[in-house]
Symmetry: C2
Subunit: 233 residues, 2 copies
Amino acid sequence: MSGTLYGVGLGPGAPDLMTLRAARLIGGATCIAYPTLAGGQSFARSIAADLIPAGIREIVMDLPMATERRSAQAAYDKGAAEIAATLETGEDVVCFCEGDPFFYGSFMYVFSRLSGRYCIEVVPGVTSVTACAARAGLPITARNETLTILPGPLEEDVLRKRIAAAESIALMKVGRHLPKIRRVLTELGLADRSVYVERATLAQEVILPLRDAPADAPYFSMILLTKGTDPWL
Amino acid sequence: MSGTLYGVGLGPGAPDLMTLRAARLIGGATCIAYPTLAGGQSFARSIAADLIPAGIREIVMDLPMATERRSAQAAYDKGAAEIAATLETGEDVVCFCEGDPFFYGSFMYVFSRLSGRYCIEVVPGVTSVTACAARAGLPITARNETLTILPGPLEEDVLRKRIAAAESIALMKVGRHLPKIRRVLTELGLADRSVYVERATLAQEVILPLRDAPADAPYFSMILLTKGTDPWL
């Protein structure tokens, strides 16, 4: 009988913001898998580090820099094949994912390759959206308000249209798209309502009004805003 | 010195989907607070039940049925006053919230009353959106896709317009709004792509194609859909 593949969300970064289930699965793992970027450290692995049993097998999926789509697919192909070979022996594999596996998570790429062939359990995690809101002290959505999640790499006119039509908004993956996003928010008169959050819940966390956000925002940064008056008062 | 108020997200329902931080705070609590609905059991308290130390103080905020807005505000006023009185003695209070405190969470109403006056730490939790996606095996959003969260109680024409304009969608608080939502999704040709999830991660969990969803959906139900082809393949 084949092993089970666990796609485990590790939350936004602080190790104690992973779930009890994630911690139990990691502590009992004999084989883990995770992505790295261009030979660098794995953020996901760093979140789980203190819980990983010594000497267990580690399947590393090394991804090229973001824009090389075909090579990324090849890295996931190779990783999925290694994971499948392990599952075939009856061993379970615990695959790490920052945040939540199905919310912009790298685990989707493994899931799409192995779904239907093996038993897969997805363990949801705390997303960066609510972690940023918690850290910024900004209740992001209440009652019958809508929340729109927008990736920063979207084209400027698409962003403008979607931001104009939305109520509460979380802009993800800000990074080098910060000037474009700031321009759109300023045009729409929303810049002064916007909060910039970088590396939420980690020691290097930064929380600033958008106007003070640094020019060199990292990939793991977000902008949050609400348009409403405080409807919960 | 005043105590600290912790607004703790408990996740979608399965007790082991709370975070390690939430579990530690509950296990060390001397005073907890949580809402109940019309004298019923507290769902939030039931998630945490096994971790609550025996004999500690419990502040119960009993809310009337959903539509009586003014009485709900009065219940939060009273609860916030009790919490404040406890904090004044230097004691910490751990306030429970299903899901995440700032994502349609009841804790917002306590936060708005005590913010600025006391030290408040918000502990994010796993939201029902990603819990439902995980349980339904539906990667909800990848790459540069957008995700729109819509509350089911919205007016039919508002829902139609927002659903038509969105990409991936999570419809929250479905309950008695199911017929209206199903009508809109059918009109838009999206019903066959939609998944219905009820009480995700609990023993009573139900996951069905939308066409098979029960007429008497509970408040804790959700509809998920993605419009794209699978972009992660």
